[in-house]
């Protein structure tokens, strides 16, 4: 469904489509179709492709090197990216710390960090969660103590995605242990090459290495890595709320595309002499998800239209996150069911076999396993329900 029938937007859509057709390598597309999560090298390659076209920061304002696109244009870009099987980005620099830097950072920080995020030269990771601070993030304990013109940092971060390949970590740390919870927290921009920082992999249930523990042992960083003011670190995340609306509005697009791949896969496998896609029980399950995705897609368009009209969208981003993650899990669960016995062929064992894995494997299983985290990360769905109850229902 079109966001609008504006001829300028049609021209823009055409441009984006043509660009993806000409510039996204087939291997990248095949990865997205198989359900496999992109590798860091693929993400970096993708960032280079987009940067060269001037689209390195689709959601940023022009003055910081972004495209300056409207929410409607962003939506079109994302629609076309989904349709072309462009791998979904995972870029904490672009979507998370970049906007905080250009909103609250000093001019020196803007000049130092922003351009290299867009070119893809610097990769950032997010140092928020700790062993004792998950959903209750404000109870974090990693300390930063002033020592002359440096902070000395001690503590531990956990679930730090891609810290093993990142150049920088943006970190919430406690600078005032006496202040009440949120008030003593500051945001630091830290070079991961700093002595005293150690990154240890945490293998997740998909047997892959996405996340890490990050240990700080008397790591000394200069005071100018403080973003904004001391003790205000907690509040800077608010700038992301606006962006969250655009992002939540677009969530259904790639998932709808993934469901297309599940449907296509089901048409290739046979059960009881017929394509699985003709089986009534399977069709009903697929239809159920597709219908709920149609609703989520329309809700996303309403969020965009309301944002552009200056209407408060309230907790609808929380609602979209809950529904999207639940639907993603059901989609990937269904994909695993499509595999039948092939679901057992996850990896080669020992040296007995050098037969290649079936072409469709193990992408669906990987997407299913990785999908379990989507109802937990970025504010677990239970926390989102707390937010809905508190902010929208006044409970």
């Amino acid at each position: 469904m079109a966001v609008s029938s504006d001829p300028q937007q049609d021209a823009f859509r055409h441009d984006v489509r043509a660009f993806f057709a000409a510039n996204i390598p087939d291997g990248m597309r095949a990865g997205a179709r198989s359900g496999r999560r992109p590798s860091v090298d693929e993400w970096k390659a993708l960032q280079t492709i987009l940067f060269k076209r001037g689209w390195g920061a689709p959601s940023w304002p022009r003055e910081y090197g972004g495209t300056g696109w409207s929410p409607a244009e962003l939506y079109i870009f994302e629609q076309e990216a989904a349709a072309a099987d462009v791998p979904p980005p995972f870029h904490q620099g672009l979507e998370n710390i970049g906007p905080i830097i250009f909103t609250y950072g000093s001019s020196a920080q803007k000049a130092k960090y922003l351009p290299r995020i867009i070119t893809g030269e610097d990769w950032w990771c997010q140092g928020y969660s700790e062993p004792g601070a998950g959903s209750d993030l404000a109870s974090l304990r990693t300390r930063a103590v002033r020592d002359g013109d440096h902070y000395i940092i001690n503590g531990q971060k956990l679930w730090t995605s891609y810290a093993h390949v990142a150049d920088y970590v943006f970190c919430l740390v406690r600078t005032d242990p006496a202040a009440r919870k949120q008030a003593g927290i500051s945001l630091l921009l830290i070079d991961l090459k700093t002595p005293g920082i150690r990154v240890r992999p945490v293998k997740t249930l998909d047997e892959r290495h996405h996340v890490n523990e990050v240990f700080f042992e008397d790591a000394r960083v200069p005071l100018d890595c403080l973003l904004g003011e001391e003790g205000k670190g907690w509040s800077y995340g608010k700038v992301l709320l606006d962006r969250e609306r655009s992002i939540s509005a677009m969530l259904s697009l790639r998932l709808a595309r993934q469901l297309d791949h599940v449907r296509a896969h089901a048409a290739r496998v046979r059960r009881g002499g017929r394509p699985l896609s003709d089986n009534d029980a399977f069709r009903d399950k697929l239809a159920q998800i597709e219908i709920e995705l149609m609703a989520l897609g329309y809700s996303g368009q309403r969020i965009i239209a309301d944002t552009m009209a200056g209407i408060d969208t309230g907790v609808r981003s929380s609602m979209a996150k809950v529904r999207w993650s639940e639907l993603l899990q059901r989609t990937t669960e269904l994909w695993v069911e499509v595999l039948g016995y092939d679901a057992a062929l996850f990896a080669h064992a020992g040296s007995l076999s050098n037969t290649p894995l079936p072409a469709d494997m193990p992408g669906p299983m990987l997407s299913y396993l990785y999908g379990r985290v989507t109802t937990i990360y970025a504010g677990s769905n239970e926390v989102q329900r707390n937010i809905i109850a508190r902010r929208s229902l006044g409970l």
Binding site: A2, V3, S4, S5, R263, D280, R283, D284, L286, A287, Q288, E290, I291, E292, M294, A295, L296, Y298, S299, Q301, R302, I304, A305, A309, R316, M319, V322, R323, E382, Q384, R385, N386, I388, A389, S392, L393, G394, L395
Partner: protein
């Protein structure tokens, strides 16, 4: 393009909400309808005076020539209250079936709708028929310039005191075939018709009507002989969209009552709304209402698409709104606890209405199967 309410539609909405407060409140519903004191069509005259009965009737027939979005705005507001007048059947569905008729007699019936002089019911269900519109076995044979109908229609909503009944009959082909269905506009009380009156749990009148060699003149055919199915489907899709909006109004109203209850009812020395299990259930209810709103807009927009896209949008929305409506209805009763099961509580009436709305024109499972059978992007 996403639906945005226009200033005129906002006025319609305000006026409908005022109408609900003054004429369709739960208190009034209890004293009149539930107590068996309200005559048929209790607020029909007022709705006629407000101009609502002719919203989608063409201007040349005395209507307003409005859009399905106007109907949607009105129905959402009416859904928050308690109205049992036959609005959707007569003012949304029937105009779509009658609007292209050439016969003066049929045109006169259409022109009588805006003034409130015609009540038109659809003989929708048959024994063993299921929800499919092609499941028609009631036969009509043609002789001497008229049709003769014989058979039993088991679900005729609003059929008890209608002035006219649209009767889908099989004039050729086999059961379940789309071809061979003819729509006949029959005067209520025609010789050979026997009407049995019932009411459903939402206090709406329902008739079963037996046809024994009932004679209907040739010019009372709506659409073409044997080709009535697609016209019926078109009209029913408009009725479905209108009732989805009604369901949304009922869901939001039930959710509002439940939220207010969570903020006043105390147990274990605390407001029950302070308990996380109930907060999360309430958040799920709010999400179901929000999802329904998107689907109501999507379905209403889908009415102007070609047949395939229209059917996909309507069946998708009908399936999911049915599920969401029942979830909200059931959970609103649940969160009220024992008092929620009382006949004296509005929330139990909303739940019963939502149960009936899911069933009407095919329930969630039926429409999901229909949706699933429609190949994506293909035209059937």
């Amino acid at each position: 393009m996403v639906f945005r309410i226009s200033p005129e539609q906002q006025q319609l909405r305000d006026s409908a909400l005022r109408f609900v407060r003054e004429n369709a409140s739960f208190e009034r519903w209890q004293k009149t309808v539930v107590a068996g004191q309200e005559p048929a069509r209790g607020t029909w005259r007022q709705m006629a005076d407000l101009g609502w009965l002719g919203i989608v009737v063409g201007e040349e027939q005395g209507g307003l020539g409005g859009s399905p979005f106007d109907t949607m705005v009105l129905m959402e507001a009416l859904g928050s209250g308690f109205v049992r007048d036959p609005y959707v059947g007569t003012c949304v569905l029937a105009p779509r079936l009658l609007e292209h008729a050439q016969s003066n007699a049929v045109k006169a019936v259409l022109a009588a709708i805006p003034e409130g002089h015609a009540i038109i019911a659809l003989a929708l269900g048959e024994t063993d028929g299921g929800f499919g519109l092609a499941d028609v076995s009631t036969r009509a044979t043609r002789q001497d310039g008229s049709f003769r109908i014989s058979g039993l229609k088991t679900y005729v909503p609003d059929g008890v005191d209608a002035t006219h009944i649209v009767v889908p009959v099989r004039t050729s082909g086999a059961l379940h075939e789309r071809n061979g269905i003819t729509l006949l506009l029959v005067d209520a009380g025609s010789p050979g018709m026997t009407t049995m009156a019932f009411r459903s749990v939402d206090h709406r009148p329902v008739a079963q009507i037996r046809f024994d060699d009932v004679r209907v003149a040739d010019h009372r055919v709506l659409g073409a002989v044997d080709q009535g199915h697609d016209l019926l489907e078109f009209g029913v899709d408009h009725a479905i969209a209108a009732e989805l909006a009604e369901a949304l109004g009922a869901m939001d109203a039930a959710a509002d009552l439940t939220l207010a209850y969570l903020k006043t009812r105390e147990q274990f020395g605390a407001l029950i709304g302070s308990f996380q299990a109930l907060q999360h259930r309430m958040a799920d209810i709010a999400m179901a209402c929000e999802e329904t709103r998107s689907l109501v807009y999507l379905a209403t927009a889908g009415l102007s698409a070609g047949r395939h896209d229209r059917r996909r949008a309507i069946s998708a929305a009908k399936a999911r709104v049915g599920q969401c409506g029942l979830f909200v209805g059931h959970q609103c009763v649940q969160l009220h606890g024992g008092i929620g099961t009382s006949d004296e509580m509005a929330v139990s009436h909303y739940m019963r209405r939502l149960r009936m709305l899911d069933m009407r024109f095919g329930n969630a499972d039926f429409h999901r199967s229909v949706f699933a059978a429609m190949a994506r992007g293909a035209v059937s």
